[in-house]
């Protein structure tokens, strides 16, 4: 394939941030279709518009997802990207790799694809960027047979679950996010590969309320670690922090021009519930008032740790803005034990209850959060058989528009207007 002039893109080769343009050019030396990626992108830079056609339904046999079809609208100029489908390869939990595995995937992609990737897609998959229709099955064959690996989700199915690194390298993880993510991914292979839902559905797993996988913002079901006993305090380390011997916030502010650490300004006063105080040089926490926001723990990781009775809060229904505006996930189960010991039974039961209901009442292309909005939170809780809790809301309703049910009202709703008129003439 010919090398194209890319004067506009070339300007993105300077500057200190890694340049995808330089990278593409390098790759083009062995994978010449990369010239056509560059060429078509240059044309977009000139025209200020995308040059990809709308959609394109392609895939591998038996799967309803994992491939996003894509065709150039200027294939004559850029034959190397005439077909340019992406392949979503399900990433391992927390995106740890051996170089062996990674190299093997790269080799496959050299063989079957463009040589370009996204590491990773926003949902979590490895995105292998651009190949022709006829390469899909051979790639899939090699992926499954040679690497024992599989595609992720796309379409109206369960999307590739993702998790923060959790216990693997973080001291705050309140459950094993990797295991939960992996277990559920395996448990729901069918749901990932064969679309049977009204619309997409996403799981994300964060080990604590810091939510490093942004689950509350972008998953239909967010499992966010928390605890229900007391924050563990190491008073000796508190003193070290106060003395300035340990950098605040795990060193996250090193280099900043900040005054010496002040436990009052930086911890006590920023606690959103005001439930911390010093008694002499002892730090005290009224744990019954704590909302486990993590701030104090973040600031003093060597002095404070989450409690030991750990589990997760389950939040449901996050999504991007289309159609009704973005939603964060709503707290539905304040605390659930998340344990491999019983194969995550409680969580799985919950998920299936949500799905059963959503698959029945959800409209086409209606995310579960939208269905919840449509039917209302009280009804959602009642079909989920969850007792309504004040924790479900930020505040009680301020309008007086209660939907009473007939059985809740003595005498029911049937009344005889003639009888009524006997006492209340018109």
């Amino acid at each position: 394939m010919p090398k194209h002039d890319t004067p506009l893109l070339d300007e993105l080769e300077s500057g200190p941030w890694p340049s995808f343009v330089s990278d593409l050019k390098r790759q083009a030396e062995t994978k010449p279709e990369c010239w056509d990626i560059l060429g078509q992108l240059e044309l977009s830079y000139k025209d200020k518009i995308t040059h990809w056609k709308h959609g394109g339904i392609v895939g591998v046999f038996g799967y309803g997802g994992g491939i996003v079809g894509r065709y150039s609208d200027v294939p004559a100029q850029f034959p190397g990207v005439e077909h340019f489908h992406t392949v979503r390869v399900n990433q391992p939990s927390s995106k740890y790799y051996t170089t062996e595995n990674l190299r093997a995937i790269m080799d496959l992609w050299e063989k079957h694809g463009s040589g370009m990737t996204n590491m990773h897609g926003s949902t979590g998959d490895m995105i292998l960027l651009g190949t022709r229709t006829e390469n899909l099955e051979p790639f899939f064959w090699d992926l499954t047979h040679k690497l024992d690996q599989d595609l992720g989700g796309s379409g109206s199915n369960l999307r590739t679950p993702a998790c923060c690194l959790g216990q693997s390298r973080c001291e705050w993880a309140c459950y094993d996010t990797q295991e939960a993510c992996h277990h559920l991914t395996m448990h729901y292979q069918d749901e990932i590969h064969r679309p049977a839902f009204p619309y997409k559905f996403k799981f994300k797993f964060s080990g604590c309320p810091n939510d490093c996988v942004a689950s509350i913002a972008r998953s239909d079901l967010a499992v966010i670690g928390t605890w229900r006993d007391d924050i563990r305090i190491d008073q000796a380390s508190v003193k070290e922090y106060v003395a300035g011997n340990i950098p605040a916030n795990g060193g996250a502010y090193k280099g900043g021009d900040w005054p010496a650490f002040d436990i009052k300004d930086e911890v006590l006063d920023l606690c959103p519930t005001d439930c911390m105080w010093m008694e002499g040089d002892e730090l005290k926490i009224d744990n019954s008032e704590c909302t486990r926001c993590m701030h104090c723990i973040n600031v003093m990781p060597r002095a404070l740790r989450p409690g030991t009775d750990m589990g997760a809060s389950i939040c449901v229904g996050a999504k991007a803005p289309i159609l009704d505006g973005a939603q964060f996930a709503t707290l539905v189960v304040p605390f659930m034990k998340i344990s491999k010991d019983n194969d995550f039974e409680e969580l799985i039961d919950f998920i299936e209850q949500v799905w059963d209901w959503w698959m029945e009442v959800g409209k086409n292309r209606e995310r579960v959060g939208e269905t919840m909005q449509r039917i209302g939170l009280p009804t959602f809780l009642s079909v989920m058989e969850i007792e309504p809790l004040p924790q479900h809301v930020k505040e009680p309703r301020s309008n007086p528009y209660v939907f009473w049910k007939e059985e809740e009202v003595p005498g029911g709703w049937e009344r005889d207007v003639a009888e009524f008129r006997k006492r209340n003439a018109m």
Partner: protein, 375 residues
Amino acid sequence: MGYDPNNPMEGRITDLGPPKYEKFLPPVIKNNKGKWLYHEIQEPGIMVHVSETGDEVYTVRAGSARLISIELIREMCDVADAHCDGYLRFTTRNNVEFMVDSKDKVGPLVEDLKSRGNKFPIGGTGACVTNPVHTQGWVHCHTPATDASGPVKAVMDDLFEYFGTMTLPAQVRIALACCLNMCGAVHASDIALLGVHRKPPMIDHSRISGVCELPLAIASCPLGAVKPAKAEVNGEEIKSVKVNAERCMFCGNCYTMCPAMPLADPDGDGIAILVGGKVSNSRSAPTFSKMVIPFLPNTPPRWPETVDAVRNILEVYIKDAKKYERIGEWAERIGWEKFFEKCNIPFTDKSIDDYRLAYDTWRTSTQFKYTSHIK
């Protein structure tokens, strides 16, 4: 053997799922999983986690363009093979992390990374601007209103100093989504760049019958702006749709459902800036980003208006915010009217919500601060 197109179901394996993560954990990680006691960022991009077993793991984090080649990934593997026993990982924001199990291995690893030009900038930890989450843009998607990788490169070139240092009042998460579908958590980012359309869809009557189910196209519009209509194609009357442009808010959902309704336009499209979102529950609850600049033009290859706008907001924030205060927490504290004043951003009606839950954003009190906006 291999894939046989004449016999596609033969030997097919499905539903394997991803490899079990355990196989990919470096030994020090595997041995200490669930036992970590605390961590410390030693310098930007370099942290240590200490286990109750006494083990330590040192992590070096490097930036990445995310849109990367197999060559570059192989180079990452080279580094990991040389220093990390052949393990590496990627973060949820697309940085790459190299881990070693003792302090003395850090120096050589860092040296190696630094020796490779600007391919592996070290940083992205703590009170920094870490790697922007972004999407496909003109590189791959069919609905973008802007490019993704280009604006991100331009912004990060400009903000590079903040990737490799930790001098900000708090972490700043920048994200870009190239259309309102918002692939990525753009709606909850400290600074969000969002590709927006501003021209209503055209109707390609000549193709619509072939490529769209009209009822779906009509139902797709959240505001009911798409209506059934007749059109003439080659002298014949066909069933098509029309768009009530006055009711259109350019969401693009109709185009998603119906390829014969393209919106994209060189002059219509551009970038909106939203700020003040956050995801973590730390201190304050998760918060949506708010639209403060409704439109900046698409100016490839370096989108200078967007780059300037982002830097401006960031600089004002740096000067004005308190330690630990995310951009949204800062704006809430000083009041959004002061945010606009301090950042010298003109306020327009476009920043006033008029969608479904709009009333909840109206100011229903007499509490406000005077700013230069009030004449």
